[in-house]
Symmetry: C2
Subunit: 218 residues, 2 copies
């Protein structure tokens, strides 16, 4: 254990911080991100509202911390999947879906409606590009790999251009972006309830979209 130097006080501090964030997540799950309230969290914890200012300088810092944690959680999930040797597009896709379904509001905090005027802190942007990096890696043909692309179908089998307008080369970045946007499309429609009453199984839709991506590329 590297944190042997951690004092009991510091440990307690981190526990309370963690509980504050947990309560904040409960509020978000119950009424959306704008419902996060320091006073309400304090009351729920049996503390006075002022006590929370020992742990966060203000409400904004708490929310920013939640956003950061959300990004970090996804990055960690992806890293774990990759470490398990399942860091291909299929593995990442299923990890993404599981992660999103586990806490939809956390997912939306990252990829949902942007709050006008809100700027992601620089370090969060770094985590975001780390996430994209892992996807990108899955889209990059590995040396020693049998195939030249992450797809089962070969690139050559696909039409090179359409109606005289050349399509962008299906390079890794291109693939990663469409991997992301398509899965986000299906996922956010599912979580937003836009499929309900249409007689579709969202899991199957996700799977279908993923398979189309895997077999044909973007």
């Amino acid at each position: 254990m590297g944190e042997a130097t951690t004092t009991p006080r510091e440990r307690y501090r981190q526990q309370v911080r963690a509980e504050i964030k947990e309560r904040a997540w409960e509020q978000i799950a119950a009424a959306g991100a704008s419902a996060v309230s320091l006073n309400a969290i304090a009351k729920h914890m049996g503390l006075s509202g002022a006590a929370l200012y020992r742990y966060f300088t203000n409400r904004d810092e708490l929310v920013t911390e939640l956003v950061r944690d959300a990004y970090q959680s996804l990055a960690g999930t992806f890293r774990a999947v990759a470490a398990r040797g399942e860091g291909n597009l299929s593995g990442l896709a299923h990890a993404l879906r599981e992660w999103a379904l586990a806490d939809p509001q956390r997912y939306f905090l990252v990829y949902g409606t942007p709050v006008p005027g809100y700027r992601r802190p620089a370090d969060v942007t770094v985590i975001a590009s780390e996430i994209m990096g892992i996807v990108l890696e899955a889209c990059t043909p590995q040396p020693g790999d049998g195939r030249a692309t992450p797809f089962e179908a070969t690139v050559e089998a696909r039409p090179k251009e359409e109606a005289g307008q050349p399509l962008a080369a299906p390079d890794a970045l291109h693939t990663a972006v469409f991997f992301w946007s398509r899965l986000h499309g299906v996922l956010s429609m599912e979580l937003g309830g836009h499929f309900t009453g249409m007689g579709f199984d969202p899991a199957l839709l996700f799977q279908t979209e993923l398979e189309l991506l895997l077999t044909r590329g973007p």
Copy 2:
């Protein structure tokens, strides 16, 4: 003009209602949907807060009305496109993108992060399915049309199944759903700023995704 029976008072009423909604949209554009405030709107219009209760029974009714208007606006846009004879997938896609870019927050009010616990009123759901109906129509081969599907490439040229797992038949509903989810994916990533700093032209991405859909189907 069928509204010849409208009294001046009623006309005035509608004007004020319209201005209230306009101010509400400004608030949404500035700080998100949760920032809609009757008092702030009233102050901005030079009225007392209580005056607005002549026009909306409460805050909730105003917000619901905005949601309804957003759906109706998109439905109207789609209807107009169809009436212009451009109701194919390409025409609808570009209309969707224009509509979304014209007012991103309006777009997100419809397809953005769902507010936990919020139920769309029944009549809004009706409009939503009307919108889907127009898309569905564009996905349905028209009698007298030269082609059997809305795609340039024929269905037969595509592999019927992959790895022994049969793909769902690319029928109209299937096509419509993927049309919607893919374009929503690209659009919401663009509007959410998740493409910034990646060196992509969002318009081109949208166009590319659309063309892939048109030439290869879902």
